[in-house]
């Protein structure tokens, strides 16, 4: 029984990753988008080093949130359109696992490029090297939470305009933004940042079961 669930999970994950990798735009777009957004800030405000360093946590986090929401409606919409999602739901396998596999896949194809892009941006925004590790840790937790939230928004706005899911999701992403920037800016100021990281971890720990269940509920809305 246990291995069945794992098989199902890896089957979905493998299938979705394969589809994503056959189309290079899925994982290149977030990376490019992130770098474009980040490079706009020095152009629009000021290329001064100290100023950019104080701005960097916020800039990186805003870019991360926006680019993780960039392709969020594709999590379910294509499978919904061609009927694959119907087939997944009529199988006896738990739909919770399906949603989690899809979220994980979305994180792998957008979250990891975002991490790479933020590493590049931390250099061009003159972030001190000591704050690099906390930034990556907070981004791992935060972008995964964003993928979960985005999946919920995508499920709620299935078959409707893509902008709707962003409007639904963005207000709920503000706690992540606040915590994430708090981690990076306290790391810059040599303060203790572990508390904020723990809160982000707690949000993720509640979010994985809670948001996956609610996403299943939201998808089922379309089959009535």
């Amino acid at each position: 029984m246990k291995s069945d669930i794992y098989n199902w999970f890896f089957l979905i994950l493998k299938r979705d990753l394969l589809i994503a990798f056959r189309r290079s735009s899925t994982y290149i777009t977030p990376l490019i988008f992130f770098l474009i957004v980040v490079s706009f800030f020095p152009l629009a405000l000021s290329p001064d080093q100290d100023f950019l360093r104080s701005l960097a946590p916020g800039v990186i986090w805003i870019a991360a949130l926006l680019s993780s929401l960039l392709a969020v409606e594709t999590i379910f919409s294509e499978d919904f359109k061609d009927g694959t999602l119907d087939e997944f739901f009529v199988t006896n396998e738990p739909s919770f696992v399906l949603v989690f596999a899809k979220v994980l896949c979305h994180w792998l194809i957008t979250g990891l490029p975002i991490l790479l892009a933020s590493a590049i941006s931390s250099i061009i925004l003159y972030l001190p090297a000591s704050s690099f590790l906390p930034m990556i840790c907070s981004l791992i937790l935060g972008t995964f939470f964003m993928s979960l939230l985005g999946a919920m928004g995508a499920a709620l706005s299935l078959g409707r305009s893509a902008i709707l899911s962003s409007i639904i999701v963005l207000p709920f992403s503000i706690p992540t933004l606040l915590m994430g920037t708090a981690v990076v800016s306290s790391a810059i100021n040599n303060q203790d940042y572990s508390g904020f990281l723990l809160i982000m971890g707690a949000m993720l720990a509640i979010g994985i079961p809670g948001l996956c269940l609610l996403t299943v509920e939201a998808i089922l809305l379309n089959y009535e």
Partner: protein, 257 residues
């Protein structure tokens, strides 16, 4: 024990069926209106004319009698919506879905009132209209959450589906409430910490907080009144093709003649 529970469940489901609710709420509505207006006016008049002047802020502080109750309402309406959302998702009770929809616009209005009165109060006391303080910001987030819920509901055509969609969203939104509550202690900047806590005595003069309590009660009653009105409108709109609605209004037309 289980018999009592079953009784409560069947009773609430029966009373919550749209036609029955419509009937008994038409009898309850005038009383609710009278009581809420009386309590609200007592609180307002007491607070604005008979409470003592603050030695530091002068008469400006009297805006507290609108600001604090509407801020409290803004948060507790979201909690109410989340409870209704849980009931909608788990038991698929029709009327609780309509309750969320009816409560959302009221909650958004109260949050907006709290934000506006807060900035009117902030100008003379803090010297600015707006500060990026944790408490203010989280109230603004609360307002955005309400707009997201209302926007999602209006974008879906099937209204029973839309009810369940926003119940999911309000369940997620409830996660923001602890952050709002705790934010004052975490990022204390300019906004004072909450005066009312259940565990300790209020730090305000009793002459000032007694009318405030009446105001909070009055706002809750006004909310109940507005919610019932909204819900009745929603019920009639949803069930306009049902026979009981046409009967209700046909009878009324006959009586009017």
């Amino acid at each position: 024990m289980s018999r009592i529970w079953n009784f409560i469940k069947s009773w609430t489901v029966e009373m919550g069926s749209p036609p029955l609710f419509f009937q008994w709420s038409s009898k309850a509505l005038p009383w609710l209106a009278i009581i809420s207006i009386i309590v609200f006016s007592i609180g307002m008049v007491w607070g604005i004319f008979y409470s003592p002047t603050d030695y530091k802020q002068g008469d400006v502080y009297r805006i507290i009698y609108i600001h604090v109750p509407s801020a409290i309402l803004g948060q507790s309406i979201l909690m109410f919506m989340a409870i209704c959302g849980f009931i909608t998702v788990v038991w698929r009770v029709k009327i609780s879905g309509m309750l969320i929809k009816s409560a959302a616009s009221i909650g958004a209005s109260f949050t907006l009132i709290a934000l506006i009165t807060g900035s009117i109060w902030g100008k003379p006391t803090w010297g600015t209209w707006w500060v990026w303080d944790a408490r203010l910001t989280s109230t603004l987030i609360l307002f955005f959450i309400y707009t997201a819920i209302i926007g999602l509901h209006s974008s879906l055509d099937d209204k029973t589906k839309a009810d369940r969609a926003i119940s999911i969203l309000s369940l997620v939104g409830i996660a923001i409430i602890p952050i709002i509550k705790k934010s004052v202690d975490w990022w204390y900047t300019l906004h004072q910490p909450s005066t009312f806590t259940l565990s300790s005595a209020p730090s305000m003069a009793p002459d000032m907080y007694q009318p405030l309590l009446v105001c909070v009660l009055g706002f809750y009653l006004i909310f109940a009144f507005l919610l019932t009105m909204n819900l009745r409108a929603e019920i009639v709109f949803r069930e306009k093709n049902k026979t009981w609605v046409s009967k209700q209004y046909l009878n009324r037309q006959k009586n009017d003649k």
